[in-house]
Amino acid sequence: MKREIREDRRRFLGQLGATLAGGTALAMFPQFDLVSRALAATTPPASGHRALVCIFLLGGNDSFNMLIPHVQAEHDVYLASRGGVYDPASNSQGLGIARSQLLQINDVAGKAWGLHPGCAGLKTLFDAGELAFLANVGTLVQPVTKDEIIARTARLPPSLYSHNDQQRLWMRGHSESRNAGFGWGGMCADMLRNPQSTNLPGLSPSITVSGTNLFQAGMLTSPYGMDSSGPQLLRRFSGANQPDLIRQQALEALLQRDYPPVMQSYYGMVGEGAMSIGGTLVKALDPANGGDIATVFPADNRLAAQLRMIARTIKASRSGAINHHRQVYFASMGGFDTHDNQMGANGHARLLTQLSEALLAFRHALQEIGALNDTVSFTMSDFGRTLNSNGNGTDHAWGGVQMIMGGASASGGALRGRQVWGQYPLLELDGNQAIQRGRLIPTTSNNQMGATLAKWLGVDGGDLPTIFPGIGNFSSPTLGFLG
């Protein structure tokens, strides 16, 4: 923001830091322990620019219809569980895709896999080593076996199969308890010391183009929100002419005051942030100031519009216009709760095509601005879905496949792409790795995936347990997909 943050709020923060260092606050409020550990993080100040881009697929993506077995025997098992190849006339309750319809891809070890036929963009990315899959990843407290689940001795995450609960667990750094108000993206932003942006000192390193979310809720940082068209400026209450300025100052005065009711103060802070950052950020993103990009994104594709705005913001962030060093972005796409009409027109296939096309365009935009090797994008989703049909779709399940996109390691990027990481399961309805209707028991924790991404962004390995408290329950806290 042009002005520094208001004097009393700054003084308050300073006091808080001092009391934390002196230990007084800890005695009063033991809950601060976590903050103090976060503040004591050893992570050095960042240089260069790196960004994580979270793409949340809301509703629970049927990802075993996105990355599909191609080896004949494995595909046979898949088809048997999915009720055969879908055919609107002769097999309308089938959920499977014929082997001949799959887009074949071969991983670095030479194994063949099938992509949903709508995912041509993903094939391009995978073949170029710029996309990796992480198979059968899900929410876990610790590794579990089917026997332990049947015997009810397993420690399981709370409220499995529930949308909002499982979304929260994906966004948070641990899966044991239902509560806790922080996301691992926000905690990464807490720990990574961005030197202040000179032009936009008030801009958070967490930026959302898709609304408030737990993923970016940190202990010290909360995300800055804009929409796909950029920041929203206030009409008649911002600008250069005198009456607008008079009105702007009055509104700022009301927003900047402290109110005893917490909600009023919080609302004031959100408004203050919107007013102080919006104008400068709009200038930074202005095409007249070089804030646009040339890459054409697909039309009528909300995710693409979000990713386009993220690409423009990354471009400005890497330049003097913002000059951030570490950032965490959030985008999302809805519609994946395919209980109904999964295989029909406008069903799952259309979602996957939109996702695939949006990701490919985003990759081109990142290359255009020279950020391909400095940006890692990844998907998260509530859960996978049942392999068998509920008549016209699928129900909530557990483990699934997620994607990681970034610059290929062969070209100087971090991603060990063109690989299927984790253990892709045999897709049986009630096999060793599945419960009843083909609910897959995850073999990789979403926290391992998160820790790998956090470490790449710059979080020190020793600090990972602060963000991911249960990570010690898994033999390897981080995975190999990022070098």
Binding site: G84, G181, P260, G268
Partner: protein, 582 residues
């Protein structure tokens, strides 16, 4: 902490205050929260320490802020005349206050390609401004955010279905929860939204490809009717505190086996008028909003073990199965606290004290889930009626953005005439879909989880839980701007000195009361006028000073009186003391 002060968004301050004030307990003075906190303690009735007749305009306005779509001068006067009890009696008596219904209006329209979902939304929205059944419409709105369906997937067709659903909620607003739950369950708007319409018992067959296919009942409605519409995820005491086991852990209300059993309950229902042979087909326009009908052939006739060890007897009669199951849901001890707490949040405060929830739960249980009696208990509770202490950090709620808009219109006696063809097609900026600007709209949620969740909490520091603030989930820097500009589009340009005589792009508000004061340069008087209508008399001296100061400066800059009025109103409706009601 030497770097990055600027971007560290400072919720510490509020959070610390919250700690010091022991928030979470809610306001309403010490009487309301005494005896709180004990899981499952039976609340004792507390005599109301407030007058049934509001003593001031501000007191009346505060009640009307909670119970209606916004106070008006005439409603304030009437309430001061008759008092809360009689006002509630009148509102709940259909003979004296008939329900505003939307479907008859839609049926007067020619349903063609030019008519779309906006006709329902606009007609409803306009009626929230002018109709007399304020409490019923407000309760219907609250219920539409619990029993969520959405018209997102059918903008231009079948919107009579969702119109009928909305009328059903309004008509059931003061009736029995149990019967409303049944109507919701069997309404095709819900049947299509949560996909239990044409749901069928498990079948196994060999398909044309020679593969064994096993199809099982759809779990969608089975899950959400428990998680969202009735009992929630964990067992609750009457005061909403979780029931804890010996280890201090919460107890789940159901597991996956119950979901599977419940999925089998909701089998055999499809469009009214269908035969077994066309069980899956849309039955056509005439049956589009009739309650779904039972087809025993497709109903799972085996016994079903559901929650609390209850077994629903095996029968092929889906109606019998449904009655037994809905009875079990409606009499589950969780329903009273689970739904009561959400209704308190919609009307009064985001963080009701356990004692407050307990008292409303008791009204629920005593009346067998009579929603009218529950609503009375909510609005006439001491915690709702006695204003919170100024230092109370947590009492109150954020006004939903749609309610911010209606409060503006009602405060300034807005008038609107439909177009000559009878349509209510608003034409002000962004009025085509308020989800893109106000972040919410009527029955247009992105998912069954509504636009915001009852358990959304404010961010807070240091591992502490922030207070609940469901509506605040809608707010970030982007939506702050879009809500502000939407209010401006509805407000700024639409003040006039005379009422409209023909259709206008937006409702037209009466500028005269404020304009007269502005012409006399009575800036303090202007602010005082707003204080009652928009702030129920609680506008702080600091805020008054800022507002008067702005008006003085605009006057000094030679800005005309009407611009000063518009500036003041826009400043007021975007101020923290308006947006968060107490």
């Amino acid at each position: 902490m030497t770097h990055g002060i600027g971007w560290m968004r400072v919720f510490f301050l509020g959070f610390l205050l919250c700690l010091l004030a022991s928030c979470g307990g809610g306001g309403g003075g010490s009487t309301a929260s005494s005896g709180a906190g004990g899981g499952g303690t039976t609340p004792t009735p507390t005599p109301a320490p407030f007058n049934d007749i509001p003593q001031t305009d501000a007191e009346a306005a505060r009640f009307l802020t909670q119970a209606t779509f916004g106070p008006t001068s005439s409603e304030i006067a009437r309430l001061r005349q008759i008092g809360y009890t009689r006002w509630l009696d009148e509102q709940m008596d259909p003979a004296r206050t008939p329900a505003t219904l939307l479907l008859p209006h839609i049926h007067q329209m020619t349903v063609n390609d030019t008519l779309d979902y906006r006709e329902r939304r606009n007609y409803w929205l306009w009626k929230t401004v002018g109709a007399s059944d304020q409490l019923r419409m407000r309760m219907g709105f609250a219920l539409s955010e619990i029993f969520v369906v959405s018209d997102r997937d059918y903008n231009n067709k079948n919107f009579e279905r969702i119109t009928h659903y909305q009328d059903m909620l309004d008509q059931g607003a003061f009736g029995s929860y149990r019967s409303l739950l049944e109507q919701v369950t069997l309404h095709p708007a819900m049947g299509t939204y949560l996909s239990h319409l044409a749901n069928q018992k498990a079948v196994t067959y060999k398909n044309a490809q020679g593969l064994q296919v096993s199809v099982v009942p759809d779990e969608n409605y089975a899950r959400e009717v428990m998680q969202l519409f009735s009992i929630g995820l964990v067992e609750r005491n009457p005061d909403f505190s979780p029931v804890l086991d010996a280890n201090g852990a919460t107890k789940a209300t159901y597991d996956q086996s119950v979901i599977a059993a419940m999925a089998r309950v909701f089998t055999g229902w499809t469009w009214a008028g269908n035969t077994d042979a066309n069980y899956w087909s849309w039955a056509g326009h005439d049956n589009d909003y009739r309650a779904m009908e039972c087809h025993p052939k497709f109903h799972d006739d085996q016994p079903k073990l559901i929650f609390r060890g209850i077994t629903i007897a095996g029968t092929s009669d889906c109606k019998v199965t449904l009655q037994q199951t809905l009875d079990a849901l409606a009499t589950h001890p969780n329903v009273a606290p689970f739904i009561s707490r959400q209704l308190i949040q919609r009307f009064v405060t985001s963080n009701p004290s356990p004692a407050y929830i307990g008292r409303v739960s008791k009204a629920w249980t005593d009346s067998n889930g009579d929603l009218g009696k529950v609503l009375r208990a909510i609005l006439l509770d001491v915690e709702a009626r006695v204003p919170p202490a100024a230092t109370d950090a947590s009492f109150g709620k954020m006004r939903e953005p749609l309610l911010q808009l209606t409060a503006l219109w009602r405060a300034f006696d807005a008038k609107y005439l439909p177009a000559t063809n009878g349509t209510y097609m608003f034409r002000f900026s962004n009025s085509w879909d308020f989800t893109t600007t106000l972040m919410q709209d009527s029955l247009r949620s992105p998912s069954v989880f509504n636009f915001f969740e009852p358990d959304y909490r404010l961010p807070a520091a240091g591992g502490i839980q922030g207070i609940y603030a469901p509506e605040m989930q809608l707010y970030n820097e982007a939506s702050f701007g879009s809500i502000f500009n939407q209010q401006l589009d509805a407000g700024w340009n639409n003040f006039a000195t005379t009422a409209p005589t023909a259709n206008t792009p937006a409702p037209v508000m009466d500028i005269n009361p404020l304009l007269t004061l502005a012409n006399n340069n009575d800036h303090a008087g202007m602010v005082a006028k707003l204080d009652v209508l928009l702030f129920y008399g609680t506008l702080s001296p600091d805020s008054r000073r800022v507002m008067v100061d702005m008006l003085d400066k605009l006057k000094a800059a030679n800005r005309p009186a009407d611009e000063r009025v518009r500036s003041l109103v826009q400043l007021a409706v975007s101020s923290p003391e308006f947006v968060v009601q107490r």
